[in-house]
Symmetry: C2
Subunit: 298 residues, 2 copies
């Protein structure tokens, strides 16, 4: 299989490694030349997205692409899958920029943590038939090519939001992630963003706020035990990436933050009134939740 | 060496395993007969704290202990170290109950997460000369004998709060934790509790509040990715133990919670006004903290 991976960070780099290990041909692009160099050393074929292809006809198409390249799939010619493993605020832009060339590819996916805008954009630019928003729950606080590894997705959930659930791209996407050992799961786009606000974006912002609380008080990461280290690991996440995610999902994330703050208020009230019974009930309810086997996406 | 460990949970059980592996003689006590049975199967000699020793003189001492037993160290006779690895609200009670017998032991320690009350109690009951409050930063969300393991303390910090920093018990405590591969560190008792409110107790309460926020919304642990799992693991901690810790350190912990809530307010304000610049600055500051090598206890 021929696959193009745009963005060779933790997610894109891990996809590239898995595919290469399975014997597939992987072309990769990255804005950072040193990242691309490292990926090339590991067997990824460099793909330059920046300049238009050298050959082609004199009259350019509407997006500045030579029409011949556009018809044949251009720089994505022969690719069966193109993956945009870039920050959520960059993926829609890439879809617009390369829409005509991407139209001929059987499956186009992104990997971002919010799906509403990118799926809407795909439909707008004529990629409703082949775009599937994908979100592997495999991110953590690390980033960059060196953070990637083989097997990152093994056993992990991948949410899939097809632009057109009836198109042939949806089963292709399921098969693709199955191949990487992941557990792909179709989900409605809006529902995805609403769920992730609580299960992923809220934990990230909580870790960020906790880290800054400790920083302000003068306590460094070295002062923490195991629990405190767990609770602040996400503070090391990529700042630009998370700014994009938070802004893209601000509405639901704001509601989730209010709910957390209400819980913190209740805990602090019990603490300040030395209400041991309520404190015990709160700790017990949290422990019960932790031990529960609640369905994944209620 | 002869060591008595009272409370054979995660901490006490791990101490017992390490000591036994080093060839020391470990007597253990636990309120739960099944825990004690499991520990005995692993080589711990059962010590019954409940009934007074069978032999002894007719006239009891002030604490109901036969004076003969009291003079010779009673049920702790021959012990070089006695460790109370029990919840923070139980340790002072044990010190009061066994004060006369404990007075003859060279080193008495607890292992709780707050130190103020237990160190004050030790001085009050005449154990100022041999009591050292110890707090190994090795706890996590698990509990009970089965959660314990050899090497739990290797490389981990252990805070030590001697009742009398000039007594011979302080260097004995340092040597004891050194022997288990830990990094013991003397710290003022009040300073310990103030620091831990921020670095340990605040992260615990944050995890608890986050877990309940997700529970209320209907999202189970299975809906989380790696980051969310890290952020809620502490919700599985022992409820009674943490009720005791929170109440014992309520003042400083309340201040720490207020500080966290102020940070959450600032984050939410930036989110709700779509202030990308401030959001980016917040995520960057948290990442900078995460990558910093700030001294451990400022």
């Amino acid at each position: 299989m021929n696959v193009v991976v745009i963005g060779l960070g933790l997610i894109g780099g891990s996809i590239a490694r898995d595919l290469a290990a399975l014997g597939h041909r992987v072309k990769g692009a990255d804005a950072d030349p040193s990242t691309l160099g490292a990926a090339q050393a590991d067997g990824v074929i460099a793909l330059d997205l920046a300049p238009p292809p050298a050959q082609g006809e004199a009259d350019s198409g509407p997006a500045g692409e030579p029409p011949g390249e556009r018809r044949s799939g251009g720089r994505f010619a022969g690719a069966e899958v193109v993956i945009l493993a870039v920050p959520v605020d960059r993926a829609p832009e890439l879809l617009r920029q390369h829409a005509s060339e991407l139209a001929a590819v059987p499956l186009v996916m992104d990997t971002g943590s919010t799906k509403g805008e990118v799926v809407r954009t795909a439909r707008e630019v004529g990629l409703g038939h082949n775009f599937v928003g994908a979100h592997p729950l495999a991110g953590d606080h690390r980033s960059g090519w060196t953070a990637g590894r083989r097997g990152l997705f093994a056993g992990e959930r991948v949410y899939l939001c097809p632009s057109d659930p009836g198109s042939s791209s949806a089963p292709l996407a399921l098969a693709f992630w199955d191949m990487l050992g992941a557990h792909p799961e179709m989900i409605d786009t809006d529902r995805h963003d609403a769920v992730l606000a609580w299960t992923s974006h809220l934990p990230q912002l909580t870790a960020t706020a906790l880290a800054l609380t400790l920083a302000e008080r003068g306590h460094g990461p070295g002062s923490l035990g195991r629990g405190g280290r767990d609770m602040t690991r996400l503070a090391g996440s990529d700042a630009a990436m998370w700014t994009g995610i938070a802004r893209a999902n601000a509405g639901e994330l704001g509601r989730a933050m209010r709910a957390l703050q209400a819980r913190l208020d209740a805990l602090r009230a019990a603490l300040e009134t030395d209400d041991g019974e309520t404190l015990l009930a709160i700790f017990e309810a949290a422990r019960e939740w932790y031990s529960s086997e609640t369905p994944t996406v209620d």
